[in-house]
Symmetry: C2
Subunit: 341 residues, 2 copies
Amino acid sequence: MRIALDAMGGDYAPAVNVEGAIEAVIEHGFEVILVGNQEILKGELEAKNYPRPLISIRHSSEVAGMDESTITALRKKKDSSIRVAVNLVKSGEADAVVSAGHSGVAMATALFVLGALPGVARPAIAATMPTLKGPFILIDAGANVDSKPLHLLQFALMGDAYVKAIFQREDPRVGLLGIGEEDIKGNELTKETFKLLKESDINFIGNIEGKDVFTGIADVVVCDGFIGNITLKISEGLADVITKMLKREIADKTTGRLGYLFLKSALRNFRKKTDYAEYGGAPLLGINGTCIIGHGRSTAKAIKNALRLASEFSSKRVAEMIAGEINERIPQSMTRKGKGA
Amino acid sequence: MRIALDAMGGDYAPAVNVEGAIEAVIEHGFEVILVGNQEILKGELEAKNYPRPLISIRHSSEVAGMDESTITALRKKKDSSIRVAVNLVKSGEADAVVSAGHSGVAMATALFVLGALPGVARPAIAATMPTLKGPFILIDAGANVDSKPLHLLQFALMGDAYVKAIFQREDPRVGLLGIGEEDIKGNELTKETFKLLKESDINFIGNIEGKDVFTGIADVVVCDGFIGNITLKISEGLADVITKMLKREIADKTTGRLGYLFLKSALRNFRKKTDYAEYGGAPLLGINGTCIIGHGRSTAKAIKNALRLASEFSSKRVAEMIAGEINERIPQSMTRKGKGA
């Protein structure tokens, strides 16, 4: 197993990327190819202790900036670290790619270079989110906007395959993110998608309202990427704000000091359970290969866990499972008709 | 000032509704007409102490059930408590109406009986949400789905007028809920709406990402009602889950007891700051009158605060202000063109 890491991508790159790669190879024994500026990466690795044969460097002369337009980066920066890393998967030199850089560029590059799986109309991001009863995945967490019902049906099948493979859950419960429990509530997209999911052989549990998303009633929550991205970011933002408000509450008290210590430890454990770094990253499902998108604010631990997820995703052949689900479980007539829609 | 209260609407009706009405008339001195089953309401009031002239009962023989279809309730239950309460506003016997019952039925009834303000294409719900720096409003929080750009422009203007009147904020900062900060990111709806807001004389601060919604950078956050409802419910659900997870963290500790007491008090204060009951309810903006939609789980305090908000909304003539904004600040050509869109 050999994983290409976009070593220049992410807010704290390349330092945490190199650190995360070292932790990953020590813990998991797979190989990592660091892709990026050779001089800088050599410098980062120099004084470190790690099994030398497991980490190599592949030079790339450019980096896709966080503010860059996706189209421009794709067209003009053909020697960017993300592009070279994805190329390694294409050429078979690597089994998977991980990037914590510009997520739009990473997704577009993976789709452009590796292509979509046969039958998949639109690849989608599967983000892992915590609940009281263990994690669920939200798909699409931001790869697409203005999705059509057939796309959401495909997201459901891809999420189903992913959860079976990675979380070892049989017959995952699939819900549709919506605004009412019945099939007559929702917008045009969810009302049409509801019918498709109902007719399919998916374990469809119906619409899931926002208030129930974090109770753990579904393994897969399906939505358009615009709504998925907002859901993801709202949740992150709110968890941050709640933590700050609670800290302020405690600090305001005259009994502050002791209470603050108790709360700090509780908050630390809570943040650990809800930390994106624990999951490492979110796979782009539906492409012909393995691509894990890390959080822009990835720490070394997040990079390590993203690499671990990439290795698991690749060795369990999740992409092949997804291709199988899409082609066996969606009637061909629908795919042909739906593709133009 | 006389406010009609749907005394039968809400999960804990009519007990908390009557209690909230009593607290409101004592605290604020306005009149409340309790609408609902006369016998039951008489029974609820019987042993209570309150200024008798300030509370009266208007009998209605039916209740719109929480599981009822909006259309059926509107067509068949012409003597429901919400219908009779709204009728009192129409006839001029009441200045405003408050309901914590089936929100879809309440909104549809208010729109059907009172009508939309001239020029308003679609009324919208303005929900008040907490941030580190005081509340903002989210509009539309669930009255409409599949909105068009012109509708969102109107939501922005209605929200602007509401925030000026109720929060006394001059030149409110209006943001568009989206998935990227630039105008080129988003879905078809937000990209088109971005242009309209940019061209308007609104204090438009651009797209607001989910992660920034709770930081307090905007006074008005505009979105389609499907996304707004999900945002609202996700936030409520997540705040609940976080509270539960933190309580569990503390309970798990051997040092549990003392820490739990500290945390409980911090959580209580936090919940108070973020409690919907503090705001009472959310107005339906854009109708020809005052209608406040309460939370289904309304407590007596929530009812009291919803009645207070109704009184303030009506006495400040917010509906008239909204009509003014819509007619002065949106070019007539756009309204005519947009209405069919």
